[in-house]
């Protein structure tokens, strides 16, 4: 690990000031010379691997006193960005009114990591692409823009089939982000000029020509909270992986239904493990919305979700798997007792 200056932020303004000063015009996640430290489960790992090389680490954990609250009123859930994954997963009200959120948190990582990781850090976790994580490969457009992508011709079984580009096929690894996508969450961002709010779906950028730019955050900006409209008692997260526990998704689906007399008045689907960014399957939703729950219709919706899929040599299976995950998740949501 390279040397860095450790700065403990006493409050949000000082954290933002420290981060903004040091990052200057650099890209926030990949080249920033200062990085915020919350749980550290991504940052410390990637610093040990020499993938992330901040000159300053700004410890924002002291902000937890004001940024880790969870509050639920009639139609809005507010999750402080420094709330820990395990605490939110164990919240009985969230389990009852937003089961998909509790599920995505509970099925992620390990109990130790969930105790450490903050919600804000979790949605910003970096890809698990083995070529991104291994600096002995020079050709990674995320780390070294313009150098190429080792995964295209490499071992790409775990890579994405949706939202990729010729420059990058890395998979977005997170689970919680899929619940936020499905439920139309809003992100509250605190920066130098105060607080701004964006749709969660506008937080991550598809790789396109610039896979090194992963989010729309500006230097010095911190995620302070997530706002989720609801409730969505009929919602589930289905995660399929190589082992039963403590593994990233090969394919997953966050599904929420508003079901009345077998008619889907609203249907939400977001997909994990298969896409370059948190992924909303809007084409599939459009097929389902307003229709009666029906197996043939669901097959059609699942096909639509993967109509634009671009698999590579080792991840062709993700298309068939992803469709089955959508179908099974919808069935689980439709039949769950609420």
């Amino acid at each position: 690990m390279r040397p860095f200056v450790y700065q403990r932020a006493s409050d949000a303004p000082s954290a933002i000031q420290n981060l903004a000063t040091a990052t200057a015009a650099n890209n926030v996640l990949t080249e920033a010379s200062a990085q915020p430290l919350a749980g550290g489960t991504t940052l410390i790992d990637l610093m040990k691997l020499d993938v992330m090389r901040p000159k300053a680490v700004v410890d924002i954990n002291p902000l937890a006193a004001s940024w880790s609250n969870v509050s639920l009123d009639d139609d809005n859930l507010r999750l402080g960005a420094l709330a820990r994954m395990s605490d939110v997963a164990a919240n009985p009200e969230i389990q009852q009114h937003y089961p998909v959120i509790a599920d995505t948190l509970k099925l992620a990582a390990s109990p130790q990591l969930r105790n450490m990781a903050s919600l804000g850090g979790n949605v910003l976790q970096r890809t698990r692409c083995s070529y991104f994580r291994d600096v002995s490969y020079h050709n990674c457009n995320k780390r070294n823009p313009g150098s190429g992508c080792a995964a295209l011709e490499g071992f790409n079984r775990s890579h994405a089939v949706l939202g990729t580009s010729e420059q990058c096929i890395a998979t977005y690894p997170g689970d919680f982000a899929q619940a936020l996508m499905a439920l139309d969450a809003t992100v509250e961002i605190t920066g130098r000029s105060g607080v701004r709010k964006i749709r969660f779906s506008d937080l991550h950028k598809r790789p396109g020509e610039s896979p090194q730019a992963e989010t729309t955050l500006s230097p010095g900006e911190l995620i302070s909270a997530f706002l989720i409209p609801g409730p969505w008692p009929r919602s589930v997260y289905l995660k399929v992986r190589d082992r039963q526990s403590y593994e990233f998704a090969l394919a997953s689906a966050a599904v929420a239904l508003d079901l009345q007399d077998e008619v889907m008045r609203d249907a939400r689907i977001a997909l994990g493990g298969v896409a370059a960014v948190p992924w909303r399957a809007r084409e599939a939703e459009a097929i389902l919305k307003g229709q009666k729950f029906d197996d043939a219709l669901i097959d059609r919706a699942a096909d639509a979700a993967f109509a634009d899929a671009r698999p590579h040599r080792h991840n062709v299976f993700k298309v068939a798997l992803g469709k089955r995950v959508i179908s099974r998740a919808l069935h689980q949501a439709a039949t769950m007792e609420i």
Partner: protein, 208 residues
Amino acid sequence: MTNQKDFPAGPGFNRRTFIGAAAGTAVAPIVAKAAGASGGPAATSDPSLPVDVSLDINSATRSLRIDARTTLLDALREHTGLTGSKKGCDHGQCGACTVLINGRRVLSCLTLAVVAQGQRIVTIEGLAEDGELHPMQQAFVDQDAFQCGYCTPGQIMSGIACVREGHAGSDDAIREYMSGNICRCAAYPNIVAAVRQAARAMSDEQKG
């Protein structure tokens, strides 16, 4: 520096005490030199200078002057002689380094020591009381829940948290909530049995 009272009291010489003491003396000159060069207390503007860190480990306060990069795991093993917490992967994947911070199980390999200041750290060395093993330690012995033993301190710390969190109600729950601790010898069936046994003992203890 290394303090003899932090080592388990045993008759005469033992390997662990020797290694701990040797590591302590080896480290001292390096730290002293770096600190001396700064001409005063640790500064925060120069990453090459050490930082002063005060840690509450097993109810004892330890003051260290260390590189800011030092993880809690390395601080425990290399700077306080507490070698019970193990370094397996050093990337948060195996669980061998699990300790409790403020009662919660966390990975000491992904925790910077400087961040752990002001918090209650409990390691495997802090479990036994008055020479009596913690019920989870006793259960691992009773159930033969290890072969090589390398993952065992992490398994035991994680097992204690698993029970306290209320996640030891069934074998399936134990398997799910112990999944962050990998055992390369695959002693898993016995580990599940040990957590099950300890869960009963810990619950009896609370009732009693």
